[in-house]
């Protein structure tokens, strides 16, 4: 997808992004079922885990973000999303509250790593091995805390739920397309 196509389209553009979450919110999006076809007729989905292009477009009308901000990569993505989206929706409890990914916040990162990579290893790694095993160099580093999206960028609408029901996602999108800012709390809640 290029900026040229973005410029020629007159329909609203939508992107969805998956940060630190279980993808359940995207599953819920899929649960729109036949309404997905209707949706495809109303908007252009420029970027999403379920469509091809891997780059984030220059300009998007609405971006739905699933997941908490856990790694430096998530933070980078969030900043990109904010810079190139007119309207950002935090989709689901992980993006809204931190939810399950934030349950790691009760411990120190090094304790977490020890638990995951050292204590549970079949043979305890040596000091040398530790350096390689611990996810510190190859993958994007974890931030000290996994946080809700609004802790790092401005969020325009919150749609809580774990996951938000397909009906709630539909309601929010259609209200938005009708030019209204929806009241998400009328269709979902924390933990729903």
């Amino acid at each position: 997808m290029t900026t040229t196509t973005t410029a020629t389209t007159t329909r609203p553009t939508v992107a969805t992004v998956w940060l630190d979450g279980c993808s359940g919110c995207h599953m819920s999006l899929m649960d729109l079922d036949e309404r997905l076809i209707t949706l495809a007729g109303l908007v252009d989905i420029l970027h999403s885990p379920v469509v091809d292009p891997k780059e984030f477009p220059q300009s998007v009308d609405v971006t739905l973000v699933e997941g908490a901000v856990s790694s430096e990569e998530d933070l980078h993505k969030a900043n990109v999303i904010r810079a190139h989206s007119k309207f950002v929706i935090a989709l689901g409890d992980c993006a809204v509250t931190g939810n399950v990914p934030a349950m790691r916040n009760y411990w120190d990162r090094s304790d977490l790593f020890d638990r995951a990579y050292v204590e549970n290893a079949q043979e305890p790694p040596t000091a040398e091995e530790r350096k390689v095993i611990l996810p510190l160099t190859v993958v994007p580093p974890l931030r000290p805390l996994a946080t809700p999206l609004h802790e790092v960028i401005k969020v325009d609408l919150y749609l809580p739920g774990c996951p938000p029901p397909a009906d709630a996602i539909w309601f929010v999108l259609t209200e938005f397309l009708a030019g209204r800012v929806p009241n998400a709390m009328s269709v979902s809640r924390f933990g729903k």
Partner: protein, 550 residues
């Protein structure tokens, strides 16, 4: 004790005079500079010279200028920075000229601009010696009250004097007494709140250490006026010397039947016991204090019912602070009219302040209400040391606020200080110079409130934590304009919805520093924004790679 006995005792004590008096400050401040060792050195010296019949060495209450301690009064001369090794010279000098090098100028404004009512016997009487106190008129007011006045007359006298509570809020004392007096039932309590928890304030400690009998006398008069027979003094356990002196004072007064059954042969009986606090600022709040005296967690409860109707063990209870009780005896002795001519129209009498911080003269002062703040800072306290500029003065402790330089001309009374966004409070006055960061000062007070919050109500329990967190972000240059707005919203909510005074006033240091020094907050946030701008990933290239996998 019969009325005549008190008079005889007073006359006898007054006749017991010495040619010379050496008075050593033996309050916590000077004691920490070893004034007890100094007192012993002076006594030994006097004994060594065999002039014990001519020279009296005694420990006395605070003389105010703590920063120059230990202070010694040798007849008319006052010595400062005295060390035990100075003892022989000081005793020697009694007969000749005062020692020039040690002299403290008693004609400086620090002394001359004060007006001593509560502290009139400080530096004069030995707080541990009942005879000495009686010689200077202790318990005369109690005698006058119980033998010549009816309880309504006493309350009227206190109301007429215009005395207001010295603990912080400034509630009219007479009105409070009248309410408790009207409450039904035969069992009532009077409580003296000596749980001075404000960091940076030590007026009440000084009064309890320096003239404990005056506090007892004030309580006894109050008990007579409201119809109570039981009194409790609630003192911080962190004030061991005050506890010791009060215990001694109670025992002495009890032994001489100045408190106890049928005082001065009348039907009035009054018993006092001491209860120790254990380190909880919230116990300054009346209902929390009562819970603590009852041996419970010091947690406040909703009012009404007010302690005046439903207080200690469910009985009507009068609670006043130490300084308030210490004002009672002079009012009874010299009359309401005399008291009412000191101060301003709405704030009568004097107020003790603890001057600390970036200021030349630190210590205790007692000034008439209505004195200009500028006079206290520049005249009495001698201004800011090291050539620095004055920035603000913090009054009222964690419940108070900071007053900036351009408001220095306001007068010190309940209304003016409230108008300036602070409170009179119990009397702490902490001066800050240009090097102080006001957001950091606010954070300091918020940390205090956070650790002192009892945890009962959500706005105070979590609100103080969140305000501290936001202040921390701002001070550490991690804050955003949204954080500042959130902080302001929180201040409003915590103030309006908290259960007790601690929570309701916890936002005050933030609000007052925002009111006068918001630019300092803005600068910190701007610095944070600038630092963040450098590391932001907002890429403007045409295609943005979201995937940054290695």
């Amino acid at each position: 004790m019969k009325p005549e006995e008190l008079m005889t005792m007073m006359e006898k004590a007054r006749a017991d005079t010495f040619e010379h008096e050496l008075r050593v400050c033996t309050e916590s401040g000077c004691m920490s500079l070893q004034s007890d060792v100094l007192q012993k050195a002076l006594s030994d010296e006097v004994k060594r010279r065999g002039i014990s019949d001519k020279v009296c060495v005694k420990g006395v209450g605070c003389m105010g200028l703590c920063c120059n301690g230990p202070l010694v009064k040798a007849d008319k001369a006052m010595y400062q920075f005295v060390k035990p090794e100075h003892a022989p010279a000081i005793v020697e000098a009694l007969a000749t000229q005062p020692i020039k090098e040690l002299l403290c100028d008693t004609q400086q404004p620090f002394f001359t601009r004060q007006k001593l009512v509560v502290r009139e016997h400080f530096g004069i009487v030995d707080p541990e010696n009942l005879m000495d106190c009686i010689a200077h008129g202790a318990y005369q007011a109690l005698l006058k009250t119980v033998t010549t006045m009816t309880p309504p007359q006493v309350i009227q006298e206190i109301s007429d004097s215009g005395l207001r509570g010295r603990g912080g809020a400034g509630f009219p004392t007479g009105l409070k007494w009248a309410t408790v007096s009207k409450a039904g039932g035969t069992t009532k309590y009077v409580i003296c709140n000596g749980d001075e928890g404000d960091p940076g304030a030590f007026m009440d400690r000084s009064v309890m250490e320096g003239d404990p009998h005056r506090v007892l006398e004030g309580m006894a008069i109050a008990a007579y006026a409201v119809g109570a027979e039981n009194g409790v003094i609630y003192v911080r356990a962190e004030y061991p010397l005050a506890v010791k002196r009060l215990t001694k004072a109670i025992n002495l007064a009890r032994r001489h039947e100045l408190i106890g059954h049928n005082i001065f042969g009348t039907k009035f009986s009054f018993n006092v016991e001491l209860r120790l606090g254990a380190g909880a600022f919230v116990c300054g709040e009346e209902t929390a204090l009562i819970a603590s005296v009852e041996g419970k967690r010091g947690v406040p409860r909703p009012r009404p019912p007010y302690p005046a109707n439903y207080g200690l063990f469910g009985y009507p209870t009068l609670i006043n602070n130490v300084e308030t009780y210490a004002n009672i005896a002079p009012i009874i002795n010299k009359g309401a009219a005399w008291f009412a001519q000191i101060g301003t129209e709405k704030s009568k009498g004097t107020k003790i302040f603890a001057l600390t911080g970036k200021i030349k003269n630190t210590g205790l002062i007692e000034v008439p209400m209505g004195i200009a703040l500028r006079d206290i800072i520049y005249d009495i306290a001698g201004g800011i040391p090291d050539g620095k500029a004055f920035k603000a003065v913090q009054t009222g402790g964690p419940s108070g606020g900071c007053i900036p330089a351009d408001l220095l001309d306001i007068t010190v009374d309940y209304e003016s200080l409230a108008k300036a966004g602070s409170i009179m409070g119990s009397g702490g006055m902490i001066v800050m110079d240009e090097t102080s960061n006001m957001a950091d000062v606010a954070r300091f007070f918020m940390e205090f409130c956070m650790t002192e919050s009892c945890g009962k109500c959500i706005p105070c329990r979590v609100g103080t934590y969140e305000m501290h967190e936001l202040l921390d972000r701002i001070c550490e240059k991690r804050g955003t304009p949204e954080d500042l707005q959130l902080l302001k919203d929180l201040c409003d909510m915590v103030k309006q919805t908290s259960l007790c005074g601690l929570g309701q006033s916890a936002p005050n240091p933030v609000l007052s520093t925002l009111r006068y020094f918001e630019q300092e907050y803005q600068n910190l946030i701007a610095e944070a924004q600038a630092a963040r701008g450098q590391t932001t990933h907002a890429d403007t290239s045409e295609h943005i790679e979201l995937e940054v996998l290695p």
